[in-house]
Structures are given as C-alpha cells and as structure tokens.
Symmetry: C2
Subunit: 332 residues, 2 copies
C-alpha cells in the first residue's frame, strides 16, 4: 500500500480510503489511486486490515459440516457460500466425521483465523466450550441439530413431523407391520425421526414390534445386512421406513437382492439423486438442505448486523415425494 501511495503521490490514508470505498475523497484523487493500484497489481491484505480494525472483522466465516463430501452437507455449504458471497465474505469449510474432537479442533483452527461467524452441525453432547468463542465475539448458528448444554440459534428440519408423515403414508396404503431402520440412536436427528415413527404408529393404533426395529446402522452395508436378516426371518414386515440416506441405500440393496423391491413398501428420510430412476422410484421425505443453509447464513448475518434478540429455532419443512416404492400395497 505504501508503494501505491508513493506512485499515486498521496498518503497511505488516502489509498486506504479509496480502496475501502470510504467517502470524502476527490474523484480525481481516487482515480489516480485506482490506477496506481492496478498498475502494481495491489491486493489489500485482509489480515493486516482486520488486525487494525476496531471491529476486527476478517470477512471470513467458517462452516463446519459432517463431511463436505456428502450431498446434504455440501448442499448446505453451497447455500451458505451463496449468501456469504453476496456480502463479500469467504468461507472456510471443514469436516467432522461425527467426531467431537475434530469439532473442537476445527473450531480452534477457525477461531485462530478469527472468523466472523460459524455455521456448524454440532456433534457430541457438550458444547459449553463454545461459550468462550461466543464471548470472544464469534457469532454462531447451528444447523441440522441443536448443540448440547448451551443455547443458540438453530436451523433444523422437522425431523419428527417429517418422519411421522412418511410412516403415515405407509399406513394410508394399508400397512400395519412397518419396520424402522435408522442411524446411530445417539444422534439427535435419529432420535427425532424414531420419535416420529413411534408417533405415527401409535396414532394409527399399531403395535411397535421389537423385531421390526433396527437402530445404529452406521453404514449402508450394516443396514443391508440387518434388513436382509429381518426380511428373511419368519413373519417379516410389509413395509420399511428408513430414517437416513445410507440406511435407505442399504435397504434398497437388500430388497433388490431378495427380489422383494416390488413387494415390500419403502419410504426413506432424505432425498437422493436418481431416486426417480430406480425401479420402483423411491418415495422419500425430502429435506431442504439449501433452505437450511440459506437461513442459517441469513441468521448469522442478522447477528452481524446487530440483532441481539433471543436465540431462535427455525424449523424448515420437509416434504413427501411420492415415486412408487411407498405406494406398494401390503402382501397378504
């Protein structure tokens, strides 16, 4: 910046004013500065800027996701990026892999880089350590799940209601033996979806049978094995509600290998690419990941802008997408 000032024949402060679009600079002066900056390919140093600025803003935010590679996470990531770009912020991203230690490491790493705010999917049960960050002035919004033992702004899917809708859809097609297969039950969303399943079953006066319940499928292959075993057992259910994407994939493979894909109904939680091209098409309860990301980013920016109203929990609606697999009638 010194070089630019020298070349333009003005002071440091004038260059700073021009490059930051501050008012009170004569047009002719501003043009000289712009020219000099371009000739020298000058790029403002944001690190130095944020060091000196009174608000310390870095124009950078951090996004901490389950895994930047998974479609749900990356859809949120993209939506946040979009909102951030409009305001001139860049986005640091990191993956958790459901590991609370990684979460802390990522928070620390982003914190050392003085991000203005954090959009995060919390993992683990205790997030009190974040109070320190918050006190240091880092805003944060939680997505997908609520944090543990602290309050905060949260944007989530209507997991329980959505799951109940999916199960009721099966009920409405005549099923009475509807099995549940879900992810690790210690995960908040898994609990909520299971609760929705129970709501719908009880609401229809259906008994929840122990043997029709599968929990803790941490991979598609575990789900496939569990569903295969269940369907091979005596007196199998006539329909399946799978509460997570990987679980749905495993169940689909199991049904396919058993030749049951047209005889056992299935509704999955969470949409996926090509669900319409499978045979039958897969009926799902679709989450709106883009809306979650967008609203989380917007909440964050409203905090940046000084909104200090109480924390809110925003619930983004899921929606039933009917494609065939959920409309298979029960086989006597």
């Amino acid at each position: 910046m010194r070089d630019v000032a020298a070349r333009a024949g003005v002071s440091l402060k004038t260059v700073s004013r021009v490059l930051n679009g501050e008012p009170g600079v004569a047009e002719a002066t501003a043009e000289k500065v712009q020219l000099a900056a371009r000739e020298l390919s000058f790029q403002l140093n944001f690190g130095a800027r944020s060091l000196r600025r009174s608000d310390g803003r870095t124009a950078t935010l951090g996004v901490i996701l389950e895994n930047v590679e998974n479609p749900y996470s990356s859809a949120i990531h993209r939506a946040v990026e979009e909102v951030a770009r409009e305001r001139g912020l860049s986005v640091l991203a990191g993956s958790l892999d459901e590991d609370p230690r990684r979460e802390r490491a990522l928070v620390a790493a982003f914190s050392s880089r003085r991000v203005d705010g954090l959009v995060m999917m919390p993992t683990g049960a205790d997030h009190r350590y974040l109070l320190t960050e918050r006190q240091a002035g880092t805003f944060m919004v939680f997505v997908d799940r609520a944090p543990g033992l602290i309050e905060g702004d949260v944007v989530v899917t209507d997991n329980q209601a959505g799951a109940a809708t999916g199960v009721r859809h099966l009920v409405s097609h005549g099923h009475r033996r509807i099995a549940f297969a879900g992810d690790l039950l210690q995960i908040q969303t898994a609990q909520q979806r299971y609760a929705g399943y129970l709501d719908a079953m009880r609401g229809a006066d259906l008994r929840v049978v122990q043997q029709d319940t599968i929990h803790d499928c941490t991979s598609a292959s575990l789900a496939e094995a569990a569903v295969t075993a269940m369907m091979r057992g005596g007196d199998p259910p006539t329909a399946l509600f799978t509460a997570q994407n990987f679980v749905t994939f495993g169940a689909l493979r199991a049904l396919r290998h058993l030749g049951l894909q047209h005889r056992v109904a299935l509704v999955g939680f969470d949409d996926f690419a090509l669900a319409d091209l499978l045979d039958p098409g897969v009926t799902v309860v679709a989450q709106d990941a883009a809306a979650i990301g967008r609203r989380a980013a917007e909440r964050l920016f409203s905090r940046f802008d000084g909104d200090d109203s109480p924390y809110t929990v925003e619930v983004v609606s899921s929606r039933l997408v009917v494609r065939g697999s959920g409309e298979i009638p029960p086989v006597a």
Copy 2:
C-alpha cells in the same frame, strides 16, 4: 498474548516460543505459559502472526471448484482437506459455476486473505492473470483441466484414454453404431473425451455418423431431450457413450421413458452413487476424484517445501466399472 505473558510472569517472546513449539524454553517455564494460556482461553491470532512472519504464511489454502455441491468437486475438496489437516492448514472453498469472472473474484478474495496456495479447477481460456499471483508467492495446482495460456502443475484424469476404453468396451460387445453425447464442447474435458470416442471409433474402423453425435448438453434435461429425439429417429444407434454425469442421467431417463433401457447399451463417463442399483446397473468409466485431490494437495505441499523442479502434469487413471448397461448386445 500480553495477558498470557503477564499472568505467566514471562516476556511476550517466551509466550510466542511456547505457543509455537519453538525449542529453547525450560520445561517449567513452558508449563507456566501453557497454564496461563488455558486459563485465559487464549488463541493465537494467525492474522497477526502471518503479518509479522518472514515467510508470511497464513496456514490456509484456497480450493476453487466447479461447485462445492457437486459430487466430483466435493470429493476433491474432501481429499484436499484431509491432506491439509495433517499439516495444520485450513481450507477456504469456493464455487465457479463455469464462470471465469467468478474465478477471478475468488482468486482475488483468497489472495487478499493471503492463502499459501491454491488448488483450482480452471475455467475459461486465459489464465495469464494468475502470473501476478504466482509472482506474489502463491503456489497453485490445477485440477481436472489445464489452465489456458500459462504453464503450471496439473492433475487430471486420463479423459481421452478413459473415454476410448469405454467406447471400445461397447465395440467389443458387437456394437457398430455407437452414439456420443457430451457436455459443452468448449470445455477441455469434453473435448478430450470426444477425442477418445473418435480414437476408439476409428481404431475399430467404424464410421462416425453425424446424427449419432450430440454436443453441448449443459443439463440433464437437454441431454434427455436430445437422446429421446435421436432414439426416435429412423435408424437409431444401438449403443450410447455419455461423456459426463448429467448427460448420463439425461440419457438414462430418456431410455427409461422409451422403454429401451434393456435394449440399448450405455457406458457413461464418471461414476455416481447407486449406479449399481439401477436396472440394468450402469457401466461407467470411473474417475478417481479423491486421488486427484490428494495428489494435487501433495504437489502443492511439495512446492511449499521448496521443490522448484519444472511443472508436471499428473494423470490419474480412470477405470471401467462393469455393471450391465454396457454389456447389452446390439439389437438387429
């Protein structure tokens, strides 16, 4: 840091030494400092650090991808993150959407934040503007495609050879009328895959028919429409080579709607989730996105570490995954 020094009863410099793991500090002193830092929840300010350091490193790198939400991009992103984490770097990520202006904006944004290096999928035809960045000390590695009008380290898939392998697979199953459907021909990878198609056709002494060639499908629905029209025309081809994921999806939908999915063979370039669950399973030429990301990051780090050997082009092999659709024999 001043507060930590005061609390531990040592000088600033000693705190700096301890927090950066520099040698030459008595163990007892180090412990006092660590304790004080913990009690004050102190976090190093990386911005200030990089401002003062002689190498100016920020311990941050930038990843510029087609779209952080697409599976290929996000697989690269994740692989880069993994390598970066091992070295204590964080990752800024951004999406291009095939727009050269966005590329420049992202480069400028990351550059202002003084990233140590850049992993990027170049878009557009002229990347000479990057020479300035490079001169300023930013290392960069290009993935998926080579940059235009400048040299650089590049990590790519063997697009041409991979496409030829896919087409030869169809030839080996008896096809002589093999259609090509691809993305925007101005995209480098689209050109290379088309070249591979031509290689394989000529190598088998097959005539390339104008009506069997579809270019510039920028979306699945465009591809679907084009393939539908082609298959409905008189004398349609007996096999399809689709050179890009979205194109494959469009073609699959078209074949399905025409009831031809078991009569027309198809090989796609690029793998996708659930390809095995479709009926028939979809035979593809799979790219190894994780390997591309990993090797790009490793190349970047070798540059960080002082490797100043000439630029290299690393080619990551694709691999044919046989699942059914590519093995359908020609219908007379």
